[in-house]
């Protein structure tokens, strides 16, 4: 159906599509409700991974105790996408495919190595979430493709993640800066693996590899965190817009990066053994 109608628009929660159509920014001939496909609205896990249907309402993630304990960062990011009203409808698939650099769930998914299963007439392909968005509003999906589900490998023990964002209010805003972090600790309490991703500071969500490398082998002590913050600020390539300035985004990216790593550390220390 998607291939036959060039102006077809798929939607899950439609929280962005409805206003776009109404505001005249889109005029699709066909609307396809992905929620009607069972596989797209599901949340399951096995020994190896969690599978999240791309159109699953984010409230299903935040209200799932198992998922939320294992990936509190993804859960809290999902819980920041708009109000309770929005979370009844919003989905990881929609949040990602909008292509917004400020999408809250994307840094959280990225630091957890999330993969997207993309379906299309030429068959299915599995793509790392970090490769889906190619620019503001742009994705690697062809117009006849859509995301079916996300796969997230089970978190090893002594692993924790976190997502923080800066908004002027406490709710109902688009992130001015977002930071997702994940660390895994060795038995000695030092970091053996680290991931850090920032939202709203560049055309797409960016990984802070310099910070990740700096964290390895440390306990995220103050000196290391200063390096993390500096690396985070350094990787930013933001714009001045109505929501924030370049200088502010760079500075606060460092602050949130540091804070997110600390929370992830704390969670990692508490999570001994697979949930």
């Amino acid at each position: 159906m998607l291939s036959s109608s060039p102006s077809a628009q798929v939607f899950a929660g439609a929280t962005d599509v409805v206003p776009q159509i109404r505001g005249g920014r889109q005029a699709p001939e066909v609307l396809v409700d992905l929620k009607k496909i069972d596989q797209l609205v599901a949340l399951t896990s096995d020994d190896k991974k969690w599978t999240v249907g791309a159109a699953t309402p984010t409230v299903d993630l935040t209200e799932n105790p198992g998922f939320s304990q294992e990936f509190p960062g993804i859960s809290e990011a999902a819980g920041l996408i708009g109000s309770d009203q929005i979370q009844s409808r919003s989905s990881l698939g929609g949040n990602l495919c909008n292509g917004s650099p400020a999408a809250d769930s994307v840094p959280a998914m990225m630091v957890n190595g999330t993969r997207a299963l993309i379906a299309g007439p030429k068959g299915n392909r599995l793509v790392d979430v970090s490769e889906v968005v190619t620019g503001p509003g742009q994705t690697c999906l062809d117009s006849d493709e859509f995301i079916v589900e996300f796969e997230i490998d089970r978190a090893p023990s002594l692993t924790g993640d976190a997502y923080l964002r800066m908004i002027p209010r406490t709710e109902m805003d688009i992130a001015v800066v977002g930071a997702g972090a994940r660390v895994t600790l060795g038995e000695d309490g030092t970091i053996t693996a680290a991931a850090l991703a920032l939202g709203a500071v560049a055309p797409t969500v960016v990984r802070v590899t310099a910070a990740e490398e700096a964290l390895i082998g440390t306990t995220a002590d103050e000196d290391t965190l200063a390096v993390v913050a500096a690396a985070a600020s350094e990787v930013c390539n933001p714009i001045d817009d109505k929501r924030g300035t370049i200088g502010y985004r760079e500075q606060v990216a460092g602050v949130l990066a540091k804070r997110a790593v600390l929370i992830a550390m704390e969670r990692a220390q508490q999570r001994n053994g697979n949930v």
Partner: protein
């Protein structure tokens, strides 16, 4: 009824019963502006300018008109040219703002409107109207508009209030000035002089209900209008002016109104809906979407204000010099006049000069917003006062007490104050435990005060006694925040019957005498006084009927607790019920009207205390505690007095921290949505603690002062003073966003 301050002995006034209109509002039955549907009704849509300043070269409506289902398309040429008819300048501005003629003056200015059988068709037809523009250079701020050689919005605008009158036109509509004493002497007597410059952005009233109007025109030239507004009599007058018809041809019914705060005292849609209805022969509904509300209605002015004040080491203010410029938007009429009158009115300052400018620019025409003009002025002066108090190491309440206006103080705007309650609000804050509560890390505390005149104006009320002894109280003041409850409480008190026996009604323009707008915090005072007068006429009539029944003189009859009593107790009392049941025998139905131009307006004062916590690494400010003390004169309905106080404070918090109009370089608004125009949400706030101060207004039967507006005056300065206390940085540019706070903190640490 004798009124004593301490124990008025009221049975209903001052109680907290359920509001008369509440049930309809919690069950979804209440009919707001957009809720009405008439048989055969069409949907309208307005075509708006995408340019901030442009000449309209041509409008081609043919494509829209030829669409199936499109029933009418109108443009400015469908309305009379008031300028050619020699109308008053302010009426011409109202008409040109309702629909542009030759020039558009802001993005969102109306250029045409359509009516069609469905919402979707109307939107498509609006898009099909082709307007050709010659884009003109624009000015967006007072600085740009006042610059030499600035592009002019109105080629014939000569500044008023300047002597001699300028010989060249400009974007400055008028200048106001207030002056007393000798500035040089005053600053000479000061030990500390502080001078600061402040800027504020336009902010919107932010009512949740977009403007809506339904019009149904008959082919005899008459038309019915249903709309949500703060004054359906005013809507009738403005609409008649724009249409060039007699007011008598229009009947306006007030829908329930979903918030206004001043922004619904003006017309936008009503004349368009009537004209579309006339052209199509069908009822037409016009409803704005939120984007239109932001781009084309409200807001209040952006400003630049300079304040210089002097104080003695003993804490006495010696002099003040204020310069301010207010954006009026596209047409003259910013609230700079009120700002000039209120800016230092709360204090007794011997030497001052206040100068203000009303400046047009290419933004939507400003509309009234809660104590129009006073909040920005207070932000500046109360911030400087805080700095002065710090500089002489004086407590912020004490410095205000030392200079506070009291009864007999010659107000800066002229007359002497009658009995006012400013000092009492300051003392209420000082005595409250919040004033000395411990502050945590990164927390700070700020105090600020505010003054607002309040208004009186014209009101009418009718009281009908029903056959069963209940009463209907009819007024023409749209109820925006619970005024039907105040009317019912005062009527119950007067008539001596239960509150539940009173049915308050807001009637249409043909059913009750004239009422000015619900604005200026006037309804409980002025319309309330009309209700009280009408009740007293009814009581007079009831006493006469009891006297007739008992065959005695009227002076032998008293009205006590809802019944007629013979002064010597020689007759069994006659209840309202009994008198109503037999009214036919004593002269017919019982009812009375009262109309008045209200007297005895009592000034309003508010003092507020704000505790904030500032994240030093992100600049985010959170309000952790808030207390507001306000003189209500007498709280007829304490629930809704608190509601006004809390609502005003929270609008002020939004104004102070996050709300602002953001425009791009082309003069288009960048944030016309509730997502990016950031009004406070529930999780941003603590409880707003209220201390109702009651210093009765001696000139009102129940001591009422207006309470609706003054609450929004202090919050921005209270926040700025608290941020200063928490961080050491002084912010002078609203809103005090995390970005600005962090920049200031960075500068401080450099």
């Amino acid at each position: 009824m004798a009124l004593t301050e301490e124990n008025p002995g009221y049975k209903w006034v001052g109680t907290r019963p359920i509001r008369p209109d509440g049930l309809d509002k919690v069950t979804g039955k209440a009919q707001f502006g957009a809720d009405l549907t008439l048989p055969g009704m069409l949907f309208g849509k307005v075509v708006r300018s995408p340019h901030a300043h442009a000449r309209i070269l041509s409008i081609d409506t043919s494509a829209a008109e030829s669409m199936l289902g499109v029933k009418a398309v109108i443009t400015g040429s469908d309305f009379p040219d008031l300028a050619a008819n020699g109308a008053h300048a302010s009426d011409i501005d109202v008409a040109n703002n309702a629909i542009a003629r030759d020039k558009v003056l802001y993005e969102g200015h109306v250029v045409a409107a359509v009516a069609a059988t469905t919402r979707e068709l109307a939107e498509a037809a609006a898009k099909a109207v082709e307007v050709s523009y010659e884009i003109l250079p624009h000015v967006l701020t007072v600085d740009e508009a006042m610059a030499d050689n600035a592009p002019l919005l109105h080629e014939n605008m000569i500044t008023k209030g300047v002597d001699p009158a300028p010989d060249q036109p400009s974007n400055v509509a008028s200048r106001i000035v207030h002056e007393r004493g000798d500035l040089e002497q005053g600053f000479g007597e000061a030990d500390v002089v502080i001078e600061r410059e402040f800027t504020t952005k336009p902010v919107h009233q932010g009512y949740i209900e977009p403007h809506a109007a339904v019009a149904d025109a008959n082919n005899d030239g008459r038309a019915n209008i249903w709309c949500s507004s703060q004054g359906h009599f005013a809507m009738r007058a403005y609409t008649a002016t724009v249409l060039g018809v007699s007011q008598g041809t229009l009947k306006v019914t007030a829908a329930e109104i979903g918030g206004g705060f001043g922004g619904k005292t003006v017309i936008y849609l009503e004349p368009l809906a009537v004209r579309l209805s006339q052209r199509s022969g069908r009822p037409v509904k016009l409803v704005m979407d939120r984007d239109e509300v932001f781009r084309a209605t409200g807001p209040t002015s952006g400003t630049r204000i300079k304040v210089k004040m002097g104080i003695s080491n003993g804490g006495e203010l010696t002099a003040a010099e204020v310069w301010m410029a207010f954006e009026a938007g596209a047409y003259a009429g910013s609230p700079v006049g009120a700002a000039g009158m209120t800016v230092i009115a709360a204090y007794d300052i011997p030497h001052f000069l206040v100068e203000g400018y009303d400046v047009v620019c290419n933004k939507p025409r400003v509309a009234a917003y809660r104590a129009p003009g006073a909040p920005m002025a207070a932000f500046a002066v109360e911030s400087v006062l805080d700095e002065l108090a710090r500089s002489i190491d004086m407590d912020p309440i004490e410095v205000r007490l030392a200079n506070a206006a009291v009864e007999g103080t010659q107000a800066s705007y002229g007359p002497k104050f009658p009995r006012i309650g400013f000092v009492e609000t300051l003392e209420a804050i000082k005595e409250h435990p919040n004033y000395t509560a411990e502050l945590g890390p990164n927390q700070g505390r700020g105090v600020a005060a505010g003054f607002w005149f309040n208004a009186g104006m014209n009101s009418s009320a009718t009281v009908h006694v029903n056959e069963n002894g209940t009463a209907t109280v009819v007024t023409g003041s749209p109820d925006i925040g619970g005024s039907r409850q105040s009317m019912a409480l005062m009527a119950a008190e007067e008539l001596g019957i239960p509150y539940e026996s009173i049915k308050p009604v807001v009637a249409d323009t043909e059913t009750v005498g004239f009422n000015d707008v619900t604005g200026g915090s006037r309804v409980t005072l002025a319309t309330g006084a009309a209700v009280v007068d009408a009740c007293r006429l009814v009581i007079e009539d009831l006493r006469a009927r009891a006297a007739k029944t008992w065959d005695v003189e009227i002076d032998q009859v008293e009205w006590v607790d809802g019944q007629a009593q013979h002064v010597d107790g020689s007759q069994p009392p006659l209840s309202l019920n009994a008198l109503a049941a037999k009214s036919g025998r004593t002269g017919g139905p019982i009812s009375a009207n009262a109309s008045l131009n209200a007297r005895g307006v009592g000034a309003g004062f508010s003092t507020q205390l704000c505790d904030v916590e500032v994240d030093p690494e992100t600049g985010v400010t959170r309000v952790v505690r808030y207390l507001t003390a306000q003189d209500a004169g007498r709280a007829i309905s304490p629930d809704y007095v608190e509601g006004q106080m809390q609502g005003g404070v929270v609008q002020g918090i939004g104004w102070g921290l996050n709300e602002e109009y953001i425009h791009d370089e082309n003069g288009a608004m960048e944030n016309p949505s509730f997502l990016d125009y950031r009004m406070p949400v529930a999780s941003d706030l603590p409880m707003i603690e209220c201390s109702i101060v009651e210093v009765p207004n001696p000139a009102h039967p129940y001591g009422v002062r207006g309470v609706g507006e003054v609450g929004i005056v202090p919050p921005m300065a209270a926040l700025a003073n608290a941020i200063k206390d928490a961080t050491g940085v002084r912010l002078t540019d609203l809103p005090m966003t995390p970005i600005k706070v962090l920049e200031a903190l960075n500068e401080q640490s450099d």
